[in-house]
């Protein structure tokens, strides 16, 4: 503008002044306008400004401004304006003389131009200056335009009009509010973000060229509305009276975009969650059903299909009664209703006919609610209890068996820490699992043997160990003999896990055994009674016979004293024979395990044994040959060794008696500091299956009632207690039993080892 002009606020403070004002040095920003105006005119001008504000109309007034000696007349025009919703006034000052001229020229050139963007909805008479007055048609059109204008202004979209040079010709209120770059005269592209400008330009050029409308997105300029995104609709508007005009209708879709992104994000998250859920459902080994409020199946997983044994299409949408038997179905439906009603989960056991026989499940039903808390479905998860139950019952039973057993049952880990001891162990022996090692349960010797020999061997071979051992009763400290079986327990990969043992208290058994052994001896005695009777009868007959003869001769005086003496001596000797047999009997019957250990010449033992059985052999015509070893002794309880030897000889006797070839050979030899006594008989060996078991207690090949089968096992025990051994070893096909004992020289010194 050629004339100084400025904007004032309602306090008459200069908001903005134009270059002309600056050039004249007037209307400095932030100062009161009156600083620049002559004081003399201030009251007029004040009133003018105030008037304009109050009436919201343009007001003009004249005033005189002196400059040095000269003065000129000026016209001040105050126009109320709304800029960004702010009421300000636009003040211009014209030198009157020049003003009229200029105004005329302006009017002419302003005929088609619309009011400035910064101007508010002009009161009707604002535009009177621009229009020739008194034209009714024009007024009508004008009114219509104004209404249209008002509509456009209030539209939520920004409407921008521009020329082919993209210079903005007009914008509506929304556009103006959107950006101050959308102003009349500005280049439209300047309101567009730099990186979009090229694109937008191309599009708009295309629109101009083709005449076709285009839709595009763009972002606002960085320094202005930089985060905003706009949806633009550009088209050409033809106005017959002017150049081609481009119109862009722009909608701020920033929020929309944000929502879109958010939505996509949420969608992505939802899809992920969905995928997870699906995977969980399908891979769950537990049957899962989701049903609607009516009980119709909405979702079902593989496991559930397997349970119902139906294809998916026959399960989805079906109700309980179509999938299960009526009793179960009704029960399930009731649970669902409870869940829906109470909104609480419900769990109970159900037994159904699964694809493979009856199975028990723990069915958990729970409500599924949406955002506002309304239940829209019921879910159920079925946990298979069958295996668990069976295992539990089985375990329970096995446990009960374990606890009820009178044997000692226990197991411990590979380090010897006890993990389980059954009731018998606890109550009878005072054992607990709170001790660090099973060594606590046994004697030190037994513990030694256990850890150094038995356990390593069992672990290595994987085979069980069975044998006699000793354990301790914790309460009394008593040492109890047991028959123990120890074996290793492996895991599923065949790796050793635990050692386990069963042990039988032998105390009773040993007592029983001893009683039985006595009984065995007595029963042997019984079976030998016949033989013994026979053996005694011969000498007896001799004594009787001789006595009769002597008596009669003496009665007749037919016997000399010398003859008498001689005869009586024979009688005596024969009587002694009987005596020896009786003695032998007595020793045999006696239990010698309390006798002291003494050095006994082997021959003595042999003789003692023979006095007892030699007669029998003779009477049955069985050859008994003896090869003696003089000068050797053993440290022992003679009675016990003699009994063992007798047992072997009796066995041999029984073996050969029915045979054609009948002989028994008693041999002796010394070897490596040990005496080996062999009893060989004419029998042709023992069958392997009998050999395996013949040293076992209670094993016998004799008929019931004949023999108790204790002989060999007890004999073996006795010999082992003496530090010797008893074993079967055939010789040349003949049955032979060998009894070995540590030897001693008769002069008291041990035999050379």
């Amino acid at each position: 503008m050629r004339y100084p002009a400025c904007f004032l606020d309602d306090k008459a403070k200069v908001l903005f002044s134009n270059s002309s004002a600056n050039a004249h040095g007037v209307f400095r920003s932030d100062t009161s306008i009156f600083e620049s105006l002559p004081h003399s005119s201030s009251h007029i001008l004040e009133a003018l400004i105030e008037d304009s504000f109050n009436s919201n109309r343009e007001k003009s007034g004249q005033f005189r401004w002196a400059s040095g000696q000269t003065f000129a007349d000026f016209l001040m025009t105050v126009t109320p304006v709304s800029v960004h919703n702010r009421q300000v006034v636009f003040v211009t000052i014209h030198e009157l003389a020049q003003y009229a001229e200029a105004k005329a020229a302006e009017v002419v050139s302003e005929i088609d131009r619309k009011p400035m963007a910064a101007e508010p909805l002009n009161p009707p008479d604002q535009t009177i200056e621009s229009w020739p007055a008194g034209n009714n048609e024009k007024e009508k059109v004008d009114k219509e335009l104004r209404t249209l204008h008002r509509l456009l202004d209030h539209s939520g979209e920004s409407i921008i009009r521009m020329g082919q040079d993209f210079k903005i010709t007009d914008v509506n209120k929304t556009a103006a509010n959107q950006s101050k770059l959308l102003a009349r005269g500005n280049h439209f592209l300047k309101a567009v973000r730099t990186e979009d400008q090229t694109k937008v330009q191309k599009i708009l050029e295309q629109v101009l060229v083709s005449g076709k409308a285009a839709t595009f997105r763009s972002s606002g300029a960085e320094n202005d509305t930089k985060y905003s995104t706009f949806h633009n609709h550009a088209f050409v508007s033809m106005d017959s009276s002017s150049d081609t005009e481009l119109v862009v209708i722009s909608t701020d879709i920033t929020e929309h975009i944000q929502l879109e992104n958010k939505f996509e994000g949420l969608l992505g998250q939802m899809e992920e969650k969905n995928a997870i859920l699906s995977a969980l459902l399908e891979h769950s080994p537990a049957p899962i059903f989701i049903e609607d409020l009516e009980g119709a199946v909405l979702i079902v997983n593989e496991a559930a299909l397997k349970l119902t044994d139906k294809p998916r299409k026959n399960v989805l949408g079906r109700k309980h009664r179509e999938l299960f038997n009526s009793a179960i179905a009704d029960s399930l439906r009731k649970d669902s209703k409870d869940v829906i009603g109470s909104k609480d989960p419900v769990t109970c056991e159900k037994t159904v006919e699964g694809p493979d026989d009856q199975q028990t499940y723990l069915v958990s039903k729970f409500p599924l609610a949406n955002g506002d808390g309304t239940t829209f479905a019921v879910g159920s998860i079925w946990v298979d209890l069958t295996e668990q139950q069976r295992a539990l019952c089985s375990e329970k039973t096995q446990r009960a068996l374990c606890e009820a057993s009178k044997d000692l049952l226990a197991y411990w880990n590979l380090n010897g820490k006890p993990l389980f001891v059954n009731r018998t162990c606890v109550e009878g022996f005072g054992w607990t699992t709170s001790v660090p090692s099973i060594a606590d349960f046994v004697t030190p010797t037994a513990a030694q043997k256990l850890f150094k020999e038995i356990l390593p061997e069992v672990r290595k071979s994987g085979k069980a160990w069975e044998g006699r051992s000793e354990v301790v009763k914790k309460a009394t400290g008593e040492v109890i003999p047991v028959w123990q079986k120890i074996f290793v327990v492996t895991d599923n990969a065949d790796q050793p896990l635990y050692f386990a043992m069963t042990a039988v208290d032998l105390t009773e058994r040993i007592g029983a055994q001893m009683a039985l052994s006595q009984a065995a001896k007595l029963s042997s005695l019984g079976s030998m009674a016949g033989g013994i009777a026979q053996e005694i009868n011969n000498p007896l007959a001799i004594i009787y016979g001789k006595s009769c003869q002597i008596r009669k001769l003496a009665a007749r005086g037919d016997i000399s004293p010398a003859e008498l003496v001689s005869e009586l001596e024979k009688v005596e000797q024969t009587a002694l024979r009987i005596s020896r047999i009786i003695k032998g009997l007595r020793s045999f019957a006696r239990n010698g395990d309390q006798d002291p250990l003494v050095d006994v010449p082997v021959n003595n033992i042999i003789d003692e044994t023979l006095t007892f059985c030699q007669e029998r052999f003779r009477n049955h015509g069985i050859d008994l040959t003896i090869a003696r070893l003089p000068d050797h002794a053993v440290n022992c309880r003679a009675i016990q060794i003699s009994q063992v030897l007798l047992n072997l000889l009796n066995n041999a006797f029984d073996a050969v008696e029915p045979l054609q070839q009948r002989w028994v050979d008693l041999q002796m030899e010394e070897e490596d500091g040990r005496i080996n006594i062999s009893v060989v008989d004419s029998g042709m060996g023992i069958a392997p299956r009998i050999v395996e078991r013949m040293m076992d207690p209670f094993f016998t090949t004799k008929e019931p009632g004949r023999g108790t089968g204790l002989g060999l096992s007890i004999s073996k025990g006795v010999i082992e207690e003496h530090g010797g051994s008893l074993y079967y070893s055939p010789l040349d096909g003949h049955t032979r039993f060998v009894l070995t004992l540590p030897a001693k020289k008769l002069n008291g010194k041990k035999a050379a080892a």
């Binding site: 016949g530 009777a533 026979q534 009868n537 011969n538 007896l540 007959a541 001799i542 004594i543 009787y544 016979g545 001789k546 009769c548 003869q549 009669k552 024979k570 024969t574 052999f617 003779r618 009477n619 049955h620 015509g621 069985i622 050859d623």
Partner: protein
């Protein structure tokens, strides 16, 4: 005249003193010959060589018992009368007689009574 005049007697028993007792008794009763054998085997051999009218044998002996002897002796051309002495209940008198023995006596016995019983049996 003694009871066993002219009779050959064979005594079979593995007990020496028993043989002595019986021998003394038979000789006192006038037996012509009184031989002894310790077992059935040697007894048979002797019986084949010498004709014995009377054999007195124990039953239980090693190396051939009295019953075996009996079964052999009854086959001899001149069959001697065989008397068995039993120390135990080996068999009953009826069984012994069935087997061909002349009689069966139990031990212990009074030798005089035994020999007398034999005499009665022989001279019946």
């Amino acid at each position: 005249m003694k009871a066993f005049d002219g009779k050959n007697v064979l005594i079979v028993d593995d007990e020496e003193l028993m043989r002595e007792i019986l021998r003394d008794e038979f000789l006192r009763c006038g037996a012509a010959v009184c031989h002894e054998a310790a077992n059935g085997g040697s007894a048979l051999a002797m019986a084949k060589k010498t004709e014995y009218q009377i054999i007195v044998s124990d039953i239980r002996m090693p190396h051939g018992d009295g019953l075996q002897l009996l079964s052999e002796v009854i086959k001899l051309p001149v069959r001697p009368m065989l008397f068995l002495c039993s120390g135990y209940s080996d068999l009953t008198r009826e069984e012994a007689l069935r087997k061909g023995a002349r009689d069966l006596y139990a031990k212990p016995f009074d030798p005089e009574t035994l020999v007398d019983a034999i005499r009665k049996s022989v001279f019946r």
